[in-house]
Amino acid sequence: MAEASTAPRARHGSGLNLRLWLPLSWVTLLVVVAVFARWIAPHDPLAQDLLLERLPPFFMSGSEPGYWLGTDSLGRDVLSRMIYGAQIALFVSVIAASATCVFGSVLGMLAGYYGGWAERIISRLVDIWMAFPPVLFAVLLVAVMGTGLTSVIAAIALIDWTRFARVVRAETLVQTRMDYVDSARIGGARRASTLWTEILPNVLPTIIALLMLEMGIAIIVEAILSFVNLSISTDDPTWGSMIAEGRNAIHFAWWVLLFPLIALFFSVLSFSVLGEGLRQRFDPVLQ
């Protein structure tokens, strides 16, 4: 007679899943750097030294020891600014993505589960919302609310909740029609508690994947808003503002632009890949 298999299942691939561990290491690095920025950063990110302006990175001739990735046009240390920039990027991405996720997922689940009026109102709202070009919308919102981190976070949540609402609604709809939901109802479960105990766990892997994706998007949006000078004050180091400043000197001090760009690129990529990896990890059926 068949028995429950309790032996751990072999993961596909050998032992180490690079698609999960590579982005996870990058994100861990970001978190560590952001948390310990004060002790890791070799210089004050705001300290200007006009005698040391536009120093090249360590592997080029003319570099100065201690300034590993060179300095910008005001003589500020690029590495230190990037480290403090990670702090802001991570802060925005975590807070904004979580807010977006909660807001959008709740609406999506309500629409998908209850149908009827809830569904119609929320779906129409999503349609209307998505008709606006997102970047323009963000710029408009920040312009109205004033610059600053809070505005950036609010703008991201207000714009991107539709991404969660749409996908989570579709997934909830699929799960609501599954037989196990009927079984729970026959077993006397209340309608609201069925949504919570039966459906939510099945939608969660999708939500986690979206959350990771959204963290990447939040970093980009913050960088865009910094780039057009609508995020926090220009003195504060953000990757976006570094890219914006570096743009002017691209022909003779390319490192000011390139290093924050690389950090941005890998962060966004890592969050996206991590989302998919975590989804597979959390879904026992997919394993």
Partner: protein, 293 residues
């Protein structure tokens, strides 16, 4: 008045455009009785069970008729009372054991939670009852199975778990919705035997939905034959097999291959008969639309 577990009176179930899925269906079950519901796919067999259990698909409505569970009118209850009554009185053995268990929850809580809800039992008591039933459906190491996820178990095992879950709260009525269709032929027999055994031990009435006349002969005392949502015949099983009154029932029996006697020929349901029945239904529909519009 005789005590019935389930009494369906003149049940008509509609789509929003007034297409009828069930047409004036009446049937009843006495305690300890097994009634088979047969018909081809789309005849509305499963829909009857869903109407009783209150899990009709969205937009499908009961437009006429009454359902009585233990002589209580389900239609007259508030939604909350109805849900509690259905939970206390009845259970479902579903068609597809692969989708009827929540893939992300362990087996244990999926059996234990309803018991606690329905009877207000303590966690220990509900757990003991679940273990008892899992043991009864011949699951070895029930403790370990309770701690497993559905995907770690085979289809036959999951169906046995669902049978245990259905019988655990001691319901008066169980709707078995083609419980063997999704399983291997080798497992089917065992599952059928299990349902019959438990049914006899507990005296639970079973509404057994199937399209397999062979299964009907083995398990039921009464048969209801459906065609396009309409009752064609309602008779004791023996009588149906010795000499069915309705030509469609006879055609269904003749269309069943016999494993006991493989040489016996079987014939498909004659197309002419089906066409005649459909014409009858269409006239009926025309009348219905004229009267109700």
């Amino acid at each position: 008045m005789t005590r019935t577990v389930l009494d369906i009176m003149n049940l008509t179930v509609n789509l929003p455009n007034r297409t009828r899925i069930l047409r004036d269906v009446s049937l009843s079950l006495e305690p300890g009785e097994v009634r088979a519901l047969v018909g081809e796919s789309g005849a509305g067999k499963s829909m009857i069970g869903k109407a009783v259990l209150g899990i009709l698909p969205p937009k499908v409505r009961i437009s006429e008729g009454e359902i009585l569970l233990d002589n209580e009118h389900l239609g007259a209850m508030t939604p909350v009372t109805r849900r509690n009554t259905v939970a206390r009185m009845s259970a479902l053995i579903p068609q597809d054991p692969l989708t009827a268990l929540n893939p992300l929850r362990k087996i244990g809580p999926q059996i234990v939670d309803p018991l606690r809800r329905i009877h207000g039992w303590s966690a220990d008591k509900a757990r003991a009852r679940a273990l008892e039933l899992l043991d009864r459906v011949h699951i070895r190491a029930p403790e370990r199975v309770m701690a497993s996820y559905p995907h770690e178990l085979s289809g036959g095992m999951r169906q046995r778990i669902l049978i245990a879950a259905a019988f655990a709260p001691s319901p008066r009525l169980i709707v078995a919705d083609e419980p063997t269709t999704a399983l291997d032929v080798t497992v089917q027999k065992e599952i059928l035997k299990l349902i019959r055994e438990l049914q006899r031990e507990t005296g639970t009435a079973v509404l057994f939905v199937t399209h397999d006349m062979g299964v009907v002969a083995k398990i039921s005392q009464k048969v209801t034959v459906l065609f396009a949502g309409k009752v064609m015949e309602d008779a004791p099983t023996e009588q149906v097999f010795s000499g069915a009154a309705h030509p469609y029932t006879r055609a269904l029996i003749n269309a069943t291959p016999s494993s006991a006697d493989p040489s016996r020929s079987f014939t498909p349901v004659p197309a002419q008969l089906v066409a005649d029945l459909h014409r009858e239904i269409a006239q009926d529909d025309h009348l219905y639309m004229t009267v109700t519009s």
